[in-house]
Amino acid sequence: MSYPPELKSLIRFVEKTRPQRVERARRGESYPALTLAERQDRLTRFHPDYRAEAKRALSVGSNKGDRLPIELADLLESHSRLDLDEVRLDRVDVDTDVLIIGAGGAGTAAALEAVQAGASVTVATKLRHGDANTVMAEGGIQGATAEADSPCYHYIDAMGGGHFSNAPDLVEALVKDAPVAIEWLERLGVLFDKYPDGRMKVRHGGGTSRKRLHSCGDMTGAEIMRVLRDEARNRPGIRMLEFTPALELLLDERGQCAGAVLLNLETRELYIVRAKAVILSTGGLGRLHIQGFPCTNHYGATADGLVMAYRAGIKTCFLDSTQFHPTGAIYPEQNAGLLITEKVRGLGAHLLNRSGEEFLFALEPRDVASACIIRECSEQGLGVATPAGRSGVWLDSPMIELLHGEGTVRRELGAKYLQFQRFGIDISREPMLVYPTLHYQNGGLVIGVNGETSIPGLLAAGEVSGGVHGKNRLMGNSLLDIVVFGRRAGLAAAAYAREAGAPKALSLDHVRSFERELTEAGISDGKVGPMLLPNYAPEHIRARRVAMHVP
């Protein structure tokens, strides 16, 4: 397929400015970073989060009045999928110490710690074990492990990246546990990129003051996920239920969390799980396609955990800010939305407009970089148009070969190289076309340093939780988040399960009272949640489905 002639001719502008840009990069010079005031200007005028008409106020629940993206607000105010009069809670199918909902990185790390601490563990997950956002992380995991770095600089960077809105206790836990978490992974056999003497290779990510990003090729998340999954499979104490998402949490007579109602996606059976402690680790919301943006997330990223927890009265934070990754592919069309890891810019690639000129410091924090790209393609009118009608900017990957030597792109970005080579584009010779894409749920459920929520016995970890990253997450802090807080939650849940007695009466009363609130607020549109799976059937198919009752 390769690039059509009109794009090829535009690539010439990129090639023309490249030698000087590489020279400047070699001298350690970069495009000037924006001041804090300029950042604010770009964000308010161009970042999708700041579009008032794309949000609405919640009318029920513990965040009543908060303005959230409409797609999310609709789901948080959706009705239960359960027929509350029909569900039988006296027939318990699984009894367990700890129930973990969602088997991505956070859930699996939690399972390993909980079982190690002596708890019996049941994990319910929607797709296969590890079909998750975790497996998709490419760039790396942060941790202040090098001599010139310290958890303090990591703290400063994370707070600044989050515009100082992060919860300080959570950030402290994150940065202090980081070296411990990375060593834990090393011990489990994760193949980190290392020098021959064992020193970790580290790089910059957007908004870091020290080179602190540890990686496993460009498959960091995949490597971490497959190792954690492999280890979980070695542990007979972990019972894994795949294709079995949770539909609702269960509370008990004391108001503590006591299990969940699960659905076998294939037989449509409901299972009742009674647990002494429950960890929610259901990940993010990319598949809600907020404001119609394409997304980088896996198929199951549909905000289910938020929906279930909101019904139980858990407060959320920072869900008004969603992370748009500045560099989603827009060409070829088959790759649209596909993440181009920040590592590409970490390795020195510039972002360039239609004239082949730089217009921002490539490693600005993600929200700022996204806003700058949107500005370049709108107000500045310097975007590059694709044949399918998208608009974007160049990401000059061939620079990497000049800066770090021939073959670096294939070695360091092997998976990405292959994804483009399939369509006849050699990214070590030709730049990529990119535009911001919906990437990460910055906020989530309010948690404490061990993942605890306001309901005893209910914990949360990973992307479903909020506060660690405030309004904006830095690259590499999320893989770290899931390992650090996944492990903490696993340990805390096991400890809680030891102390707390077994729940007696299971109850869905919290869902009933939430339904009452919905009725009182006049919400009766029949929308149900959690979403579980996105529906990508085209209009003409949906139109033919209407004349039938689907049980």
Binding site: R26, L36, R128, D131, V135, M136, T145, A146, E147, A148, S150, P151, C152, Y155, I156, M159, F164, P168, E172, K176, D177, P179, V180, I182, E183, R187, G189, V190, L191, F192, K194, G198, R199, M200, K201, H204, S209, R210, K211, A222, D230, R233, N234, C295, T296, H298, E333, Q334, A336, G337, L338, G348, A388, L418, L533, N535, Y536, A537, P538, I541
Partner: protein, 261 residues
């Protein structure tokens, strides 16, 4: 990763081509991947769809093209449809995977351990030695990995090399389904990579030191200080912080300001 919800592309005008999804004929836009074509036809995935980005291995697919006897393989989310394509996606791959304890060996991070490690691979995955050298696995691999080569390396006990060669495996299991010697290549390689990560790669000493420092509480006071800081003060620290040069030598760079080290 676009789809009908999130594409601003020109799907309506696009040419439709016929494909057979498990034997039933559908017309789908010619630029779609198999995964999006299946959804375009009206299916909603439960199995066979994970990351939608070519890395989770959930969507291993077999297909044939008209007039061609060959059985082809690909990842549904990465392979573009072709006219007349006959498509079958794998919902599940049964694989041989014994349990093991990767902590069972001495000598964390030293290369000398290879003998004992090799012995354990032989014990756990004896079928690796049944390889008949047909190279079907290598031809099958949607990631373009030379699977047969790493199987041979495992057989010879060159575990670090096998780990390296199999690194980009997405564990779709297509190789194991096709293997006439009934090897589960991907699970054997998983074990070998973990051994390589733990025993055949030197440990990062700076990491071990840093963990000891953290555990001794070396940063506790300073972090408490940062946490207590007023927003302006922290903002000024942030804006004035020194940035390590991109091309600094590993472990060599000395910051001017060491106040928070």
């Amino acid at each position: 990763m676009s789809n009908d919800n999130d594409s601003n592309g020109s799907k309506n005008k696009e040419k439709l081509i016929p494909v057979q999804i498990m034997g039933r004929l559908y017309d789908v836009p010619e630029s779609l991947t198999i995964m999006k074509a299946v959804e375009y036809a009206g299916y909603q995935y439960v199995r066979g769809c994970g990351c939608r980005g070519g890395i989770c291995g959930a969507c291993g697919t077999f297909y044939r093209l008209p007039g061609d006897y060959q059985l082809m393989t690909g990842l549904a989310c990465q392979t573009v449809v072709q006219p007349g394509m006959m498509i079958m996606q794998l919902p599940y791959v049964p694989a041989n995977r014994p349990n093991y304890d990767v902590e069972a060996f001495d000598g964390n991070g030293v290369a000398g351990a290879n003998g004992a490690l090799h012995e354990s691979v032989r014990r756990l995955f004896p079928e690796v030695y049944r390889c008949v050298g047909c190279a079907t696995c290598s031809r099958t691999c949607p990631m373009g990995i030379d699977v047969m080569d790493y199987v041979a390396l495992i057989g010879r006990g060159e575990l670090a090399k096998a780990a390296d060669l199999s690194f980009s495996c997405v564990m779709c299991g297509l190789c194991a389904i096709r293997c006439p010697a009934e090897i589960s290549q991907h699970t054997a390689a998983m074990y070998v990579r973990r051994l390589a990560g733990r025993y055949l790669t030197p440990k990062a000493e700076h990491l071990t030191r840093r963990v000891a420092e953290v555990q001794a509480g070396r940063f506790d006071g300073k972090l408490a200080q940062l946490k207590a800081m007023k927003r302006d003060e922290l903002t000024s620290l942030y804006t004035n912080r020194e940035r390590e040069p991109d091309l600094s030598e590993p472990g060599q760079w000395k910051p001017k300001d060491a106040a928070w080290l």
